[in-house]
């Protein structure tokens, strides 16, 4: 695991305007899809963003992929603001950062041969000869577990797992530093998931690539990620190394999330936390901690005020944003303020 920081996300916000009117467009509100999040990804490291649907995971991914413009904040790759990139720097960024999407049926163009799908990033960004492109495509197909003789086929001739391998191959071919994996195994058959997860882990070692893993399934996150950030309603509520988070979840939402996931063995008896109510609307999110209207541990007005992200006492890499551990409260896990 590298210690060098590759990607840095600083106080990023993305608000989508809600507009009204056809001719005279008025903004009547904002959907706070991502509301002030910060994290870093190290080299050859996997960070998982975990949360239920609508919590802003995918928007975060799209921001990093330059498919959306942030409302506020900055994202740095190797210390450079990615929204200020121009010309060759921009092209380099497109080369260095790739993506694998959830649904391998819609993420591969049905009218293009696998060879050209896989080669797209290097065709677009590099001036290579036909032969060089051919060689690299064939090497990558072997690396992702496909037979190079199938390069001339079209996507519909492959199964879901094979298609996802094609997508991984295409993401890898330009030797990127970061691949955004947006639910890479959720659309696959359970029997295929492990194969693709193993493939992703293998090529991570081989190509020294970092992953940002967007996932709603805790087991996938646990298997794949070095660090996990738990998101709720556009905010990161807890952030820790994978084993630390699973052994010692601190935030009530994280605890509830873990209690909702199926245990690894059906006989395991666990504490059951049932949350009441719905996730509040991101148009009008609650003040302070976004979780306080549903939180079983709410302790009063502290939770409705601005919550600072605190570092746990015994673990420097474990951060939590929760009123229970706000300053002055003698909780065992909390430590000094940030």
């Amino acid at each position: 695991m590298g210690t060098e920081i590759l990607l840095q996300v600083n106080n990023v916000k993305k608000y989508f305007p809600i507009t009204k009117g056809l001719l005279f467009v008025k903004t009547i509100g904002q959907v706070k899809a991502v509301d002030d999040i910060s994290f870093t990804i190290g080299e050859s490291e996997t960070l998982a963003l975990v949360g239920e649907s609508g919590c802003g995971k995918t928007t975060t991914a799209r921001l990093i992929l330059l498919l959306e413009q942030p409302t506020h904040g900055e994202i740095l790759l190797d210390g450079k603001d990615i929204y200020a990139l121009q010309g060759d720097d921009y092209r380099r960024y497109r080369d260095r950062v790739q993506a694998v999407f959830q649904d391998p049926w819609s993420s591969l163009n049905p009218r293009i041969q696998v060879r050209d799908i896989v080669a797209e990033p290097i065709i677009v960004n590099h001036k290579l000869s036909r032969q060089e492109i051919r060689d690299r495509v064939e090497k990558i197909l072997v690396d992702v577990g496909l037979d190079p003789v199938h390069a001339d086929r079209f996507p519909h001739e492959f199964s879901g797992g094979q298609r996802q391998r094609i997508a991984v191959g295409s993401a890898l071919i330009s030797n990127p530093q970061l691949i955004v994996l947006d639910e890479p195994v959720s659309a696959l058959d359970v029997s295929i998931r492990a194969q693709i997860m193993n493939l992703l882990r293998d090529v991570q070692k081989q190509y020294h690539v970092s992953y940002l893993l967007i996932v709603h399934d805790l087991a996938t996150a646990r298997y794949m990620a070095h660090k996990i950030a738990v998101m709720y309603l556009g905010k990161i509520v807890e952030y820790a190394k994978t084993e630390e988070l699973f052994n010692n979840p601190v935030h009530p939402y994280t605890k509830a999330l873990f209690s909702a996931a199926l245990p690894s063995h059906p006989d395991i008896q666990r504490e059951e936390i049932i949350l009441h109510g719905e996730v509040p609307s991101p148009i009008d999110p609650p003040t302070g901690c976004p979780f306080h209207p549903r939180c079983p541990m709410k302790i009063g007005t502290v939770c409705e005020k601005e919550i600072q992200t605190l570092r746990c006492k015994d673990n420097t890499e474990h951060w939590v944003s929760c009123g229970l551990y706000a300053e002055g409260r003698p909780e065992p896990e909390t430590g000094r303020q940030q």
Binding site: R94, F101, V124, V142, V180, D202
Partner: protein, 299 residues
């Protein structure tokens, strides 16, 4: 450890005999439509000089208004002659060329223009989209015949003016359909992936979106050939289409109008040619649509 998996070669069934496969493919085709089209439209247009028994422009007044051969007329003129003594069969044969030329040119221009604008509107959205779609609404709300009369009055009734009118009326259909498809494909993950890979707008439009809308284009074009032939005939009938003495089918119907009580064959046979052509074109278009793009059924 995962590499060894999922590399089984995909089996493709090999046909037992090639001729059998071809026979099965042939049986699937709408053969009646294709044969009618070949007889009425394609072969006459290609081989008019060879198969037409008479000159379509010259007749003798002595032989005017002769009934068809099987209706008591002389055997020299199979489908009879018109009011100027010209052979109707020959005129219908030469007229197929005009129908094909007008349909091909009109649909080509309308298709290219409509596709271009539809792609831009659906991909870039924003003001381009608003502008193009309002133009489409305007075009579709103006009666086509009225436009034709105005254009004919302004630039005269010529072959080029007919093509111009057809393109003017038809481009909007393409633009609207292609814009909708483009809108759908622009949201797709493979376009997002291409953007992430760094592909330019031009590359995304030409390599990723255009190939996915070609089925729609083909189906739309086939379904419109019939409409264009009828439209051209209507224009010629009204006198704002192909000028005399060209043997356009619509023009021939118009010429026979005065004699319809005494010499019905002057109008009847060109009308029959139009009907057969359009009917089989529409059937062929329906078949193509079902084969290539069943989602288009409402068009």
């Amino acid at each position: 450890m995962s590499k060894a998996v999922a590399t089984q070669p995909l089996q493709t069934g090999k046909p037992r005999s090639v001729s059998r496969l071809w026979w099965r493919k042939l049986r699937e085709l709408p053969l009646v439509s294709i044969i009618i089209l070949l007889i009425v439209l394609v072969i006459p247009a290609l081989l008019a000089e060879v198969i037409a028994p008479h000159n379509p422009f010259e007749g003798s007044l002595g032989k005017r208004l002769q009934a068809p051969a099987f209706f008591g007329g002389p055997s020299e003129h199979l489908l009879g002659t018109d009011h100027q003594g010209r052979d109707i069969l020959s005129r219908i044969i030469y007229g197929s060329r005009i129908s094909i030329a007008v349909a091909a040119a009109g649909i080509l221009i309308a298709g290219i223009l409509g596709t271009l604008l539809g792609l831009m509107a659906g991909y870039f959205r924003g003001w381009i989209d608003a502008l193009v779609m309002r133009l489409v609404d305007i075009t579709l709300s103006i009666p086509a015949i009225l436009v034709a009369l105005v254009v004919a009055a302004a630039i005269g009734a010529r072959f080029s003016s007919v093509v111009f009118i057809i393109a003017l009326v038809l481009w909007a259909v393409y633009a609207r359909q292609i814009r909708g498809e483009t809108l759908k494909w622009s949201q797709s993950d493979f376009v997002a992936r291409a953007r992430v890979a760094g592909a330019s707008h031009f590359r995304i439009l030409t390599r990723h979106i255009l190939p996915n809308v070609t089925n729609t284009l083909i189906v739309l074009a086939t379904l419109q050939v019939g409409f264009v032939i009828v439209f051209e005939a209507s224009l010629s009938f009204l006198g704002v289409g192909i000028p005399r003495p060209n043997p356009a089918w619509g023009l021939m119907i118009a010429d026979g109008r005065k004699y319809v009580m005494s010499a019905w064959w002057i109008s009847f046979f060109p009308g029959l040619a139009i009907m057969l052509t359009v009917l089989s074109l529409n059937m062929l278009g329906d078949w193509l649509r079902d084969r290539l793009d069943p989602k288009l059924r409402q068009v």
